[in-house]
Structure formats: C-alpha cells, structure tokens
Symmetry: C2
Subunit: 299 residues, 2 copies
C-alpha cells in the first residue's frame, strides 16, 4: 500500500574517520524513501531549490519514488555540514543552511490525500500536524522528532504526539522528552502521550519496540565497517514503515519484524557515505541479512 513521507531533501557534506563527501544526496525524506522503497511505493513530500541536481531527481525516480510532492522553490537547496569523530554515535554539526527549507509549507498533491500509511520525518511539529490535516482518514501515522523540537516547541510536539500511532526517537531524545534517566519509565510515559507504539533507537546497540503490554529488543547488525552514520535513523524508519505498509496488519508479530527490517536497512546505510550503499541494495541482500539476524539472537 502507499506510504507517504514528509521531510527534508538535502545536500550533505560529511566527514568521518573513513572519508568524506561534499554535497552528497541526503535529507530525512530521501533516506526514508530509498529505504522504504525496497518494500513499497513511497510518496515523497519535500522541497528543493533551483540548484538541486537533475541526477538526484533521476535517481529517486529510478528507485520508484513518487515525486509529485517534491516542490521546487526559488533559492538554494537545504545544506547540512557535519562530522563524526571516533565515536560514530553522534554527529557534530558544522553548518546548517536551511535555504528553501526555511519556509517549507507542505502542500499535498490531491492523489496523496488518500494515503493509508504516513511518516512525518523530523520537522517542525506544526508542519507535521499540518500534513496529517491534509490526509483523509489515514490508517497509520508515525513520526520522528529531535532534541531541537523537544526543547523549543514542547507544546506543539505534544499535540502532534496525540495524533500519531508510532513514535520514533533515539534514546537520548526519549529520556529528554519524558524526563528522568530510566528508559523503561520514559517509554511508559511516552506511551501515555498518544502513540500506541514507541520505537527507541540506540544506534549500534539496537532498538526497542515498546507497546502497552509488550517489549521487543532488536540488535543492531554488527559491522566491521561503519563509514557514515548519517541517515541511519531515517533508513531505520524507512525499513520499518516500508515493511509495515505492505498490508493493513498491525499485529505484534508484524511490528517485531518491522523493527528488524528497520535495523537491517540502517545497517546497510551506514556502510557507505550518502545513499551509496542503499542505492545498490537488492531484496536478496535484505533477506540474507534478515536470516543472519535470526542467527544472531537465537538461543
């Protein structure tokens, strides 16, 4: 079934101990779309500037991403510049040029207004709700967020949370949003704010799926080469949502498998800069890693 994502399309300059890239294709909606695109048809809602390279548009199209929702505005494309030290768990931002993203106001093309599965990537919670408002009776709405919105727009974020089914966030953000230092308590609190499912991402330590009466723990796929963690969280959400949106079934078993697919897609993503690993992924690669995941936790 179709899956809509709203978020950023960006040009990222990233340096890690293993190399660097200048103005590579990036952005939350991009990583999400390419990752989810392994499983389902993705409708993208984002904005780029006049300078956005045609080759990136061609690439997204070649992977089956529906670009009718990709607006092109006067000005330059959103750019981010950052680096990772030996601790690849956290990016240090050097520069953020919002450019056309600064005045982004998502307008859904009319065929998008009936999309059953919706993912609101990490953008202003006001805009996240604005997108939900434009969709008639979605089957499932999920969102991501970050420390910036947690501290600068806590009320708006709460309003958004009251309208989503699944919340994705990383461990530090979960503790920040809920207050306190215990992750189990934090997750319980987050479940009381609206979502029926909370997914907590822990980078190389895996991810947790919290629901009212259950808890599932997926490892991260252990890698010898992590070259660039940029986009790992959005690739994760893409694998999760892409798998899930193949049919209307939110059983515990399917949610668990979705978490594993999320972890798998994130593991591919971090093996190369930009989308260079994801762009070569075939379904067989995903299946092979899924099998390896089973072996990793079986006892």
């Amino acid at each position: 079934m179709s899956l809509l994502v709203v978020g950023s399309v960006a040009l990222d300059s990233v340096k890690t101990p293993f190399g660097e890239i200048r103005e590579g294709l990036g952005g939350s909606a991009t990583y999400f779309s390419i990752s989810a695109g392994c499983f389902t048809k993705v409708r993208l809602v984002a904005v780029v500037g006049e300078d956005f390279p045609a080759k990136h548009v061609a690439f997204l199209k070649s992977r089956g991403v529906d670009l009718r929702g990709l607006a092109r505005a006067k000005g330059k494309t959103f750019r981010w510049e950052g680096f990772y030290g030996d601790d690849m768990n956290e990016a240090k931002t050097l520069k953020t040029d919002l450019n056309v993203f600064e005045t982004f106001s998502p307008e859904l093309p009319s065929p998008y207004k009936k999309t059953p599965f919706v993912f609101l990537a990490n953008i202003d919670p006001d805009l996240q709700r604005n997108v939900v408002d434009q969709i008639s009776d979605p089957y499932l709405v999920a969102c991501d967020t970050m420390n910036y919105w947690i501290s600068s727009k806590p009320r708006s974020l709460r309003k958004t949370l009251s309208r989503v089914d699944i919340l994705f966030l990383n461990e530090g953000e979960a503790l920040q949003l809920a207050g306190g230092s215990n992750l189990m308590k934090a997750a319980r609190h987050l479940l009381s704010l609206g979502p029926t499912t909370v997914v907590i991402k822990r980078g190389e330590y895996g991810a947790l799926l919290f629901r009212k009466d259950s808890l599932f723990w997926a490892p991260a796929f252990p890698l010898e080469k992590v070259r660039d963690p940029t986009g790992a969280g959005d690739s994760f959400a893409g694998g999760f949502m892409g798998y899930l949106s193949r049919r209307k079934d939110l059983s515990e078993a399917r949610l668990r498998r979705a978490l594993v697919y999320g972890s798998i897609m994130a593991s591919f993503n971090v093996e190369a800069f930009s989308l260079n690993r994801l762009r070569r992924i075939k379904r067989e690669d995903v299946d092979r890693r899924y099998k390896a995941f089973r072996g990793l936790v079986r006892f």
Copy 2:
C-alpha cells in the same frame, strides 16, 4: 561439576542516586560465587582480614559456597568506596584500601587442585596464572580483566590470555586491549590471543558472545529500577560459568544459553545494593526471567 573462583572478597561503600550502603558485602569472588551458586557448587579462593564479619561467612556458607579456600590474614579486609551518578554505567572510585588483598597470594587447598571449571576474576594477571598452575588439567579456564591491568601489565596479561578458553571483559576494555574503535575487529583480534570465546559485556545494552565462526547477542533485561550496578559484571560471569559448569559440553547452544543466564543474574544483582537481591533469588525466579528473555527477542 565444581567451579573454582579466585578473586576478591571486600567490604564496599557505595552511593547511587537511589541510596547508599556502608561496608556492605562485596568483591568479585563474592558476587561470582553467589550468582554461580544458583547453578552449581562453587569453590572460593580469596583472602579477608581479621575484621571480616562472621555474618558474611555464615551467609556464604548458607548459600553452599565452599570456603576452604578463603584465607584469613592479619590486618583489615579489602575496602572499596565509590559512587554512581545518573549514568549508572560507570562507577567513580573514591577510595581503595587493598589491605590484606595487597599481598594476596592464592594457595589452593589440595582438594581444589582438581577442579574442572575455573574462573579467574579481575586480579593481577600474574596471580591468575599462578592459580592455573596449581590446577591439574582443568577442563575450562575463563578470566576477567580490567583497564588497570591492560595498561600496567600488558605482557603478563597476554601470557594469561594464551592460557584461557573464555575471556570476559566490557566493551571499553575490549577496545582498549585490542586497540581501535570497532568492536567486531577488536573481538577478532582478542580471539587471536588465545581464548576460543570472547564475552563482551555492554551493561544495559546487553552482551555479545564472539567465537571464530559465530556471534550471539543477548540483551540486558530491561529494568525500571537499577539501584546499584556494583558487581554486575561478576554476577554476569557467575551466571554464565555456573550454568556452563553443570556438565562438560561447550556446544554453541550451551554457550548461548550461558550468556543469557549471565545477563539474567546481572539483572537481578543491580536491582538492589550489595548482594541483597541475589541473596533472595530462587531458581524459579531465574527460570521466569529466562522465559521473559525469550519473549524479548522472539521474532
């Protein structure tokens, strides 16, 4: 089958955000013995001073620990004082009084010299080898170590590693000992130093079991209340080695279950100060948590 541990018996003063304890029973050999004692008969080799409270001796005996190897020396018992901040993953040491432990030279009572399973807790690697020398043809030797020995006695530690089958250490120590920042590569390097199995403990993020051709990931049991992490690593090793030493079978399946039992015993330990939770543990409690573990990772 019998399992021998050599390590420390101490009186610990610990403060955490959830309370504190003054001169509670502690020490690596103590945590290990009580934890492993849920599965098998443990022979303890350690030293205490003249001031060591009789009630602690009585408690260890009541849990079936064989104390023929517990020497009592002139002087005071080893004392450690530390605290944990909100990040319960790392202890800050305030004071270490080695006392009688400073001149500890383990002498095995003659019945101990034929013990099939041996655990060398975190002590001077010279002493670790000295203990192995006293045992005739052990079936399995495991050891733990720490940053202090990795930096101060690297050569001696390597000699010890060449004589052990299983190495336990935490993530930071693994990276320090192997050099580099990638855990997979570090584990592969550690396996080249002698051990056929490397267990890497990651606190609340679980533990990994590395062997030449396999990798297993066990989660940590998620807890709402972590009161005092002191002794978690030794309780972990105790659960692992206690389960394993019930028979001579080092199959992959048994090693994996051992890792889960290690994680379970550590999870009980951190729920209370000193050994206050472990001292009340029954086999049914362990079995219940084992079942919950399966539910936690099943997909």
